[in-house]
């Protein structure tokens, strides 16, 4: 077992564990924190998989901005501890868990099967420069500019939706 593998399994366990906390925790704020832990663990996994740029981006954007936004909203709305689920909703839950399991099986089988067929390709360099070069190439340039407009739209939309009537 190489160091990478060990580290991978450690961070994977952390991710799964905090994901379960996210799902199982009653208080939304604690769920948010757990999700931050998950994100950071995933960031580490990204790094272990040879993608430093994305790893940093994950921490900065996801954990740093999006989750902060979540926490802002949680604080704004002063969410309380969540009530226990309504009676009779166990049908929905059971169905959901069942279907979730099936989904895992399906997705997992697809993913695992594909990777087993051929081994990983060598010579993989995902440094910032290389990614940036691909990002600004004609293949993805339009999409890149479009996302900026998307963010503008989101900005305007969020303001319009959430403001109070004057």
């Amino acid at each position: 077992m190489t160091l990478d593998a060990i580290l991978f399994y450690v961070f994977a366990a952390a991710a799964v564990g905090s994901a379960l906390v996210v799902v199982g925790q009653r208080h939304p704020t604690y769920s948010a924190f757990a999700l931050i832990v998950t994100l950071c663990s995933l960031s580490a996994v990204f790094g272990l998989l040879g993608s430093p740029f994305i790893a940093v981006l994950q921490v900065v954007v996801y954990a740093g901005a999006i989750m902060v936004l979540f926490l802002f909203v949680l604080m704004l709305l002063s969410v309380k501890r969540e009530e226990p689920p309504a009676r009779g909703a166990w049908g929905v839950k059971a169905t959901a868990i069942g279907l979730g399991a099936v989904l895992v099986a399906q997705v997992g089988s697809v993913l695992a099967a594909s990777a087993r067929v051929t081994p990983a390709a060598p010579g993989f360099n995902a440094s910032t420069g290389h990614v940036a070069r691909l990002l600004f190439s004609p293949a993805y340039l339009y999409v890149f500019e479009a996302t900026s407009i998307l963010i503008l739209a989101a900005l305007v939309g969020a303001v319009a939706l959430a403001k109070r009537e004057m």
Binding site: T95, A96, L99, G100, V102, L103, Q106, S109, V110
Partner: protein, 661 residues
């Protein structure tokens, strides 16, 4: 000018005259119905009434002309056959059968029913009776219904009835006859229930129609059976076809027997024979002229006419003709016994009609169809006379019909009394009045064909007939007046509008016996014209029996009235049975109310309709609703549920893509 000549020649032809006679009363009905709402003044009303009488009179004249010219046409047709060297007909009987060429009623594959008439001596006799007596009754009604508000409606119905009755007796095939058959039933209902605001009248109308309908079921089946066996509805063709087949023995239910029996069921309904006789006495709720016309002279004789018209069919079926004779005889006797205890003057006459109709069927039943029609002919005269006379009595009594409240009227209403006596003697069978000849002929035929029991019963019934008719005469016209002072002051003779027809009918009752009807009609029934020789002692015995009956009534009701009361008390049980009309009405009522009504309510309404059919329809509704309720889960509005469905869908698609291919 030439056109006028052509028009007249076309008019006075056997193709047009019968139809003219037929449709004149119908026109009267239509005109009167249309005018009726608009009539306000007396003068207008009188005009309408006069119109109604005129149409019937004109119809009578047309039919008279037709009757006189009919033999010519038959001869012409026979010459025609000779000229063209066509084979002569098997029988010398050749009716004239005009039809409306542009009015084929039914014309589908295999079934062809034209709107055809059949004119021969039998139809002549019938149509002349219908229009002749009918006209007299129209005239009588002018006086009888003078104070009634709905006169115009009454006369329109009378005209309509005349049309249907003429159609019935002139019809050339069974379906057309059936139109007339149903039509007279309808008019009977309308006229019996004429005073519809009176519940008993409305009920009587319904009863008549419904009982008739039962008979009609048999009639329709009989028509179908006849068509099935012979391939035609045409009455002439049916009789010819029957003549060609082998006669069917007793107990053999061949095609002729079946058809004849079923048709006879219809005749029982229309002619009030046992067990379908129950409507006729109740029908007395209608105005008296109606009783005279419909329930004495014409409509009830339709059954007899039908049997006579299909005479050869019955003659060739031993079973059917025996049934006719037996039913007729039994009916005659039973009705006569019931008439003995009736207290309503019209009821006595009603049961008397039933009894006399039984005589007619007895005659037909022993093969003497001509004699049966002869009795029909004479009966029309004296029964109409008796009914109209009773109407005159009722008119004088201010509406009272109970004989126990009458008495000694011969001084107050002499003309009515005189004609009534004539009618009574006629029906009792005293020579030389009409009833004697026809009744004697019936008894003679029965004896001559060897039916001793039928003859004996017939003779007994004749005695009873004389007895109860004399009883009616004595109770009504003789003895002390039992009606109270007010009624006594009201007694007055009827106007000449009413007395005139009475006198004419009285003359007819005397003279009708001398018309040689059986000889005239023998050719229609394919029978030899000379009758078998009757026993010479028969007329004397019959007359003796009649005199005995009258004497008995005189003795019991005039000489020793308390003896009658004592006898009545002793014979109470028998009296009960007779008063209850042999319990026919009770049995029918029990059947109708218990079985039909209760059965309908319990089984058909609640069981079948409410539970089954409604249940099925509601069930479909509730199944759909339940299904909708189940599916509605998908539309709860719960976001979670929707998300679940999305997940489920995704899983399903993935599963299909991964594992099913």
């Amino acid at each position: 000018m030439a056109f006028l000549a052509w028009f007249v020649s076309r008019l006075f032809s056997l193709d047009v005259m019968p139809f003219l006679a037929l449709f004149l009363p119908l026109g009267g009905f239509i005109v009167l119905s249309l005018l009726e709402p608009g009539i306000r003044r007396d003068r207008e009303e009188r005009g309408a009434v006069l119109l109604a009488c005129t149409t019937v009179f004109l119809s009578f004249l047309c039919l008279l002309w037709t009757a006189l010219h009919m033999d010519e046409a038959a001869r012409t047709l026979a010459d025609f056959r000779v000229q063209w060297r066509l084979p002569p007909r098997a029988s010398p009987y050749l009716p004239y059968q005009p039809s409306l060429p542009w009015l084929d009623w039914i014309d589908v594959s295999g079934v062809h029913v034209p709107f055809a008439l059949l004119l021969d001596r039998l139809s002549s006799v019938m149509t002349l009776v219908v229009t002749g007596v009918g006209f007299l009754i129209h005239v009588y009604s002018i006086g009888y219904m003078a104070h009634d508000e709905d006169r115009v409606r009454y006369f329109s119905y009378l005209n309509l009835f005349t049309f249907f009755m003429l159609l019935l007796v002139m019809a050339g095939n069974l379906p057309v006859m059936f139109i007339g058959w149903e039509g007279v039933g309808l008019c009977s209902y309308l006229l019996i229930g004429f005073w519809y605001k009176k519940k008993s009248a409305a009920d009587a109308g319904k009863k008549a129609f419904i009982v008739n309908r039962l008979g009609d079921a048999g009639l329709i089946l009989g028509m179908i059976a006849a068509f099935y066996s012979f391939g035609t509805f045409d009455t002439f063709a049916l009789t010819e076809g029957a003549g060609a087949l082998q006669p069917e023995k007793w107990g053999e239910f061949g095609p002729m027997t079946v058809a004849a029996l079923l048709l006879f069921v219809g005749a029982c309904g229309k002619s009030a024979q046992i067990p379908l006789h129950v409507w006729l006495p109740d029908a007395m709720e209608g105005p008296t002229p109606v009783s005279a016309l419909i329930h004495a002279a014409t409509m009830v004789t339709a059954g007899v006419y039908m049997v006579a018209r299909l005479g050869p069919l019955y003659a060739h079926s031993e079973t059917a003709i025996a049934v006719v004779a037996i039913v007729g005889t039994v009916t005659a006797l039973m009705a006569a016994t019931i008439a003995l205890v009736q207290t309503d003057i019209k009821r006595v006459l009603a049961y008397s009609t039933v009894s006399q109709l039984g005589y007619m069927f007895l005659a037909c039943g022993v093969g003497a169809f001509g004699v049966g029609v002869f009795h029909l002919f004479t009966h029309a005269f004296f029964k109409a006379l008796l009914f109209l006379g009773s109407g005159s009595v009722i008119h004088a009594m201010g509406g009272e019909q109970d004989m126990r409240k009458m008495g000694g009227l011969w001084r107050k209403i002499p003309w009515t009394f005189g004609t009534f006596v004539v009618g009574t003697l006629a029906i009792a069978g005293i020579p030389p009045l009409a009833g004697f000849f026809s009744k004697d002929a019936i008894l003679g035929s029965a004896l001559g064909e060897g039916h001793k029991i039928l003859f004996a019963v017939g003779l007994l019934t004749a005695a009873l007939t004389a007895f109860y008719m004399a009883r009616l005469l004595f109770l009504t016209f003789f003895g002390p007046f039992r009606g109270g002072h007010e009624a006594e002051h009201h007694l007055h003779e009827s106007p000449w509008v009413m007395l005139g027809p009475l006198v004419i009918l009285a003359v007819g009752s005397i003279g009708a016996g001398f018309v040689p009807v059986p000889e005239m009609l023998a050719v229609v029934f394919r029978q030899p014209a000379e009758e078998g020789h009757h026993a010479a002692w028969l007329p004397m015995v019959a007359t003796l029996v009649a005199i005995l009956g009258i004497a008995g009534a005189y003795w019991l009701y005039l000489m020793l009235p308390d003896l009658a009361a004592r006898l009545g008390a002793r014979l109470r049980p028998i009296g009960r049975v007779l008063e209850e009309k042999y319990y026919f009405d009770r049995v029918y009522d029990a059947f109708a109310s218990r079985v039909v009504v209760e059965g309908s309510r319990k089984v058909l309404w609640q069981g079948l309709d409410a539970s089954l059919i409604d249940g099925a329809v509601n069930g479909i509704g509730s199944v759909t609703a339940g299904f909708a309720r189940a599916v509605r889960v998908a539309q709860t509005g719960l976001v979670r549920a929707y998300a679940l469905l999305i997940l489920g869908g995704a899983v399903t698609v993935l599963g299909y893509l991964l594992w099913a291919r």
